[in-house]
């Protein structure tokens, strides 16, 4: 790894983005384009008595009005097929779509929505996930048994995904414990909040539809379209222009089918652009509200001997990825610690809230926040330093993970030590300040990936993939990998991406998978081109290909750099001779680690954590004890990502993750009034601003993974958001002596905790 990787580079989509040339979905306009609007239910739970769209249809300038009656009756869903495009008979959350309109102007479309006559019989909403699990509780989905679900998902009533981890002998573990520490923590639902709201534009040509969408997952979006509108995959093309961030909120399939159906009915292109309120209430990828309870047995020397955890994830009205996320959550509830005996249970509970789903590191920040406070509480009980207690239990090479995987060389301990070093753990602090630590781990997501590379006659190259660039730079970084392999400058590599007609299937920018999977495909495709170039150059230079290398646009002899041939000349010659130099890569996915499997239930997608990344954050806060206002003064981060390929990109991910994490810690939470979100706008759902951000220090730990991504790298996008809230919580406790057990830790809650209450 040398010439290109590890150095700072300017991303290829940067220039259009700083000049305003980059077009995002809401910027696109087609001739004759209509504007879409949705009529949302506005109440969390109701039976639909009447839905009459005739007045809306009659309004001049309205070209299409659709309800569930106008589209095929198809149930769909990522894990459980529990939903339909439009509300059918019942309303299960406030943002549920009753009808969709396409009209000449946005104002007309809104007016048409208001002309739709709706009679809803309100039902008491299911909002308390613990009560929803009680026998006889009202069911959010009365027909849940009729739904089909992915194999292996364990469902029962309002629980649409029971998952557990059973390891060792938990009772024996508790019997051997000197101390048993318990704790309960509650996290409110929050939101991914990309700054770009959802937008979709659809246009039909004959039987084919092109959909420009703000999706992070073009192929799953296409699957949703083909399934709900009963179309062949070849009839649907999903294209993402530039995407204005996603953070999981734009994963899966959202409104593409509604807009495509409107465009078909109106026989015109139709564009939908969400406003911020819809973004909060009507999308379906909120961050789960979670109730976590722990009970842990430890020996006096600080060894954990028994660990029990129960998690309840509020998945809202629909399962989306819920059961899979609960599975992740159970791994997070174990944490990167050695556990001889463990019992973790997770439940995915329906409610009448906005559906939760795959937001950046789904369940990670909340469960880490809960577990790491609990871990601090254990250290306190034992009178051990919190760093020391963690070091005594943290996993290392050769240890066994929660589900039995064996860790290879990992940087868990080193990340923790780095974070502690950077923050100056243990140094004296001014009164009112406190420091906290938190550790965590996160998986990489092995999956299929394909890539096609064309060497152009001028020696530049074009990489074609199905991957999606959500802003993180992971697709932009693919140019670095190709450049490194082909001996070209990264600027010589162009990229074609996020178009289902161009690249092969890709699961999208979810699960931090792009570099991990597509990167390997790029390496494989590059290798084919490289081999061809080496052979051509070997002929020309009368050398052995093994003695040649591709560097700085030439193929040259390793021991005599003067003996070289320009890659552009080889490419040109090949083309003149009738040969187009291309490469194609679709390498097998790295294997999943072995796991216990058998003794656990409901483990569908994540029997273990593949190529896990380890990390620790440390925070220093200042708490205003009178007001409960917390200011974060410093955050230090130690991260092991296997190997860092693009430092400027990875730093950007870590810094962005920390600040996102600070929001989760302090200010980002949904407030519900009778089942409707009371703060569906940015004034009262508070993101951190530039003025809130503390000094950040970051260190990377190297531990290349054998079953990792390119050069042993691991997924980068999600880990940084995981441990910040936990570190802040522990810092607050250190500063004040009280634990805030409700996330976000708003001033009102910190103040109440200081007053001995639970707000």
């Amino acid at each position: 790894m040398s010439r290109v990787l590890g150095r700072r580079f300017v991303r290829a989509d940067g220039l259009p983005k700083v000049t305003g040339q980059a077009r995002y979905a809401a910027d696109l306009v087609l001739p004759g384009m209509l504007h879409a609007a949705f009529l949302h239910a506005g109440v969390p739970r109701a039976r639909i008595r009447r839905l009459d769209v005739s007045a809306a249809r009659a309004l001049p300038g309205v070209l299409a009005v659709l309800t569930q009656d106008d589209v095929p009756f198809v149930r769909f869903g990522a894990a459980v097929e529990d939903r339909t495009l439009f509300a059918h008979e019942v309303v299960r959350f406030e943002g549920e779509i009753l009808a969709a309109v396409a009209a000449l102007t946005p104002e007309l479309a809104d007016r048409a929505c208001r002309l739709i006559e709706v009679e809803l019989e309100a039902l008491p909403p299911v909002l308390d996930p613990e009560a929803a699990l009680a026998p006889g509780a009202p069911l959010v989905h009365e027909d849940w048994q009729d739904y089909s679900a992915n194999d292996g998902i364990v469902r029962d009533g309002n629980d649409c995904g029971f998952v557990n981890i059973v390891k060792g002998d938990i009772e024996a573990g508790f019997a051997a414990a000197d101390e048993i520490v318990e704790g309960r923590y509650v996290a409110d639902m929050s939101h991914p909040v990309p700054i770009e709201p959802h937008a979709v534009l659809a246009q039909w040509e004959g039987d084919r539809v092109t959909v420009w969408s703000t999706t992070q997952t073009p192929f799953p979006a296409r699957n949703g379209l083909t399934r709900t509108l009963e179309l062949p995959e070849s009839a649907v093309r999903v294209v993402v222009p530039h995407l204005g961030g996603g953070f999981g909120g734009k994963c899966e399939f959202h409104f593409e089918a509604h807009v495509a159906a409107l465009a078909r009915a109106a026989r015109r292109p139709v564009r939908l652009v969400f406003d911020r309120r819809q973004e909060f209430t009507a999308t379906d990828m909120a961050r789960h509200g979670i109730i976590a309870t722990f009970r842990t047995g430890v020996r006096r020397d600080g060894t954990i001997v028994a660990h029990e955890a129960s998690l309840i994830l509020d998945t809202g009205a629909y399962a989306t990825h819920g059961p899979v996320i609960t599975e992740i959550a159970t791994m997070m509830a174990a944490g990167p610690y050695r556990h001889p005996n463990m019992l973790v249970e997770g439940r995915t509970v329906y409610s009448n809230r906005t559906p939760a789903g795959s937001t950046r590191a789904p369940s990670g920040p909340q469960v880490c926040w809960a577990l790491e406070q609990h871990v601090d509480a254990i250290a306190e009980r034992l009178g051990l330093d919190k760093l020391e207690f963690r070091l005594r239990n943290i996993v290392a090479e050769g240890d066994e993970g929660p589900t039995g995987q064996r860790f290879e060389k990992i940087g868990a301990r080193e990340s923790l030590l780095e974070a502690a070093r950077l923050i100056g753990w243990g140094r004296p602090l001014p009164p009112g300040d406190g420091m906290g630590l938190a550790v965590g781990w996160w998986f990489s997501a092995p999956g299929p990936a394909g890539c096609y590379i064309k060497l152009n006659a001028d020696g530049s190259a074009t990489v074609v993939t199905g991957a999606q660039e959500n802003g993180s730079g992971s697709v932009m970084g693919l140019a670095l990998l190709a450049a490194e392999e082909l001996g070209l400058a990264p600027e010589r590599i162009s990229l074609v991406y996020q178009d289902t007609d161009a690249g092969a299937f890709d699961s999208g920018s979810s699960g931090s998978q792009t570099t991990f999977n597509v990167g390997r495909a790029v390496l494989a495709a590059s290798a084919q081109i490289r081999d061809r170039l080496l052979r051509m150059a070997a002929d020309e230079l009368e050398a052995n290909p093994l003695d040649l290398e591709l560097v700085e646009g030439v193929v040259r002899a390793k021991d005599a750099p003067g003996r070289s041939v320009v890659i552009a000349a080889l490419a040109r010659r090949a083309q003149d001779d009738g040969e187009l130099i291309t490469g194609q890569g679709n390498p097998p996915a790295p294997k999943m680690p072995d796991s216990l499997g058998g003794s656990c239930a409901g483990r569908v997608a994540f029997p273990a954590f593949a190529a896990p990344a380890f990390f620790a954050h440390a925070a220093r806060v200042r708490v205003d004890r009178e007001t409960g206002v917390v200011r974060v003064l410093e955050v230090a981060a130690g991260h092991e990502f296997g190997r860092v390929l693009n430092p400027i990109g990875v730093e950007g991910q870590v810094e962005g993750g920390i600040v996102h994490g600070l929001g989760i810690a302090l200010s980002e939470g949904t407030v519900f009034r009778d089942g409707n979100q009371a703060n569906p706008h940015l004034l009262d759902y508070k993101l951190q601003t530039a003025a809130d951000v503390p000094a950040m220090k970051i260190a990377f730990v190297d531990a290349p993974a054998a079953d990792g991504g390119p050069y042993g790298s691991k997924g980068v996008g999600e880990p940084p958001v995981v441990p910040t809230a936990a570190a802040v919580a522990n810092a607050i406790a250190a500063a004040t002596g009280v634990r805030v057990r409700h996330l976000p830790m708003t001033p009102v809650r910190v103040w109440a905790a200081l007053a001995g209450e639970d707000a």
């Binding site: 007309l108 007001t627 302090l666 706008h681 009262d684 951190q688 003025a691 809130d692 708003t746």
Partner: protein, 297 residues
């Protein structure tokens, strides 16, 4: 086809023209200055724009900040928060108002948002209200039938309710000279984030000290804990004529809670707001005292 909405737009070039327009348009008329309340509320769907928009941004005669000969202050309605924040005069003598202006929204909000708009929008969380209350400010209202002055306290009637009569424009704010002695004033807001906040609790305080350091005058006003910004009379009485010892300041601050009638909303519980009043008031008194003491030097 889209039906053209009958909304009209008027951008008078002079104050007289504006007053005449308001008289002519009657109840349909709605003034827009910076639009940071009016247009934002319309976009968020909370309020409709008025049927006849009278945009007053061109009335440069209303954008002035002037000291009066006897030490008073005259502010035009179109003075922006950024103007207040940067005016030497305001920063030096009317510090609580400068404090408040600097807290409003973002740089963009402060450039565009006006003093007149802040007062006429009549939010209990308005930033400029509490400082102006402690300065005993009056508003100047002009209509076709003449000009009248009204103490600010009488102008603000409740959330989004003022004493503005149809056809009336708020043209400015006048502030009488400050009391004798060493005067200090300050405005403090409880902020969740470092910026871009709306007041959960705010307090403005003016104190005047005599040569012995005794409070000859104390005025205290609260933001966001009642239907309008309000003076906290009990707290003022507790301080007036006293030496402002730590205990007396704390006791006075505690009595400010009597003036608070807060509500529960998504930003805070009423309990929290009530509990925060003494804290913020105490800190504002301390800040004002510090400034008054510095006056001596």
């Amino acid at each position: 086809m889209a039906v053209a909405v009958g909304r009209t737009y008027h951008a008078p070039a002079s104050l007289d023209e504006a007053i005449a327009l308001l008289a002519e348009l009657g109840n349909d008329a709605g003034v827009v200055a910076g639009g940071t309340d009016l247009v934002v509320a319309a976009r968020g769907g909370r309020r409709q724009l008025p049927t006849a928009l009278v945009a007053i941004h061109r009335l440069s005669e209303l954008a002035t900040i002037e000291g009066s000969p006897f030490g008073g202050l005259a502010l035009g309605a179109l003075v922006t928060h950024a103007d207040l924040e940067r005016s030497d005069l305001v920063r030096r003598r009317w510090t609580a108002l400068a404090d408040a202006a600097a807290l409003v929204g973002s740089p963009a909000t402060r450039h565009v948002g006006t003093l007149g708009g802040n007062l006429c929008n009549a939010s209990p969380a308005m930033e400029s209200g509490a400082p102006l209350l402690v300065y005993d400010a009056s508003v100047e209202l002009r209509s076709a039938s003449g000009t009248r002055g009204l103490p600010l306290a009488d102008f603000l009637l409740g959330p989004a309710r003022t004493a503005l009569a149809p056809g009336e424009l708020l043209t400015g704010v006048t502030v009488p000279p400050q009391p004798a002695g060493r005067v200090g004033s300050a405005y403090l807001r409880l902020d969740y984030r470092a910026s871009m906040e709306i007041a959960v609790v705010g307090a403005a305080v003016l104190v005047a000290l005599d040569a012995d350091g005794r409070c000859t005058e104390a005025r205290i006003a609260l933001t966001a804990v009642a239907p309008t910004v309000v003076r906290a009379a009990d707290a003022e009485t507790a301080l007036r004529g006293q030496l402002p010892t730590t205990e007396r300041v704390a006791a006075a601050a505690a009595r400010a809670a009597a003036a608070a009638r807060p509500i529960d909303d998504v930003r805070a519980t009423a309990r929290y707001r009530t509990a925060m009043v003494p804290v913020i008031v105490r800190r504002a008194i301390e800040a004002a005292l510090k400034r008054a003491e510095e006056e001596a030097a």
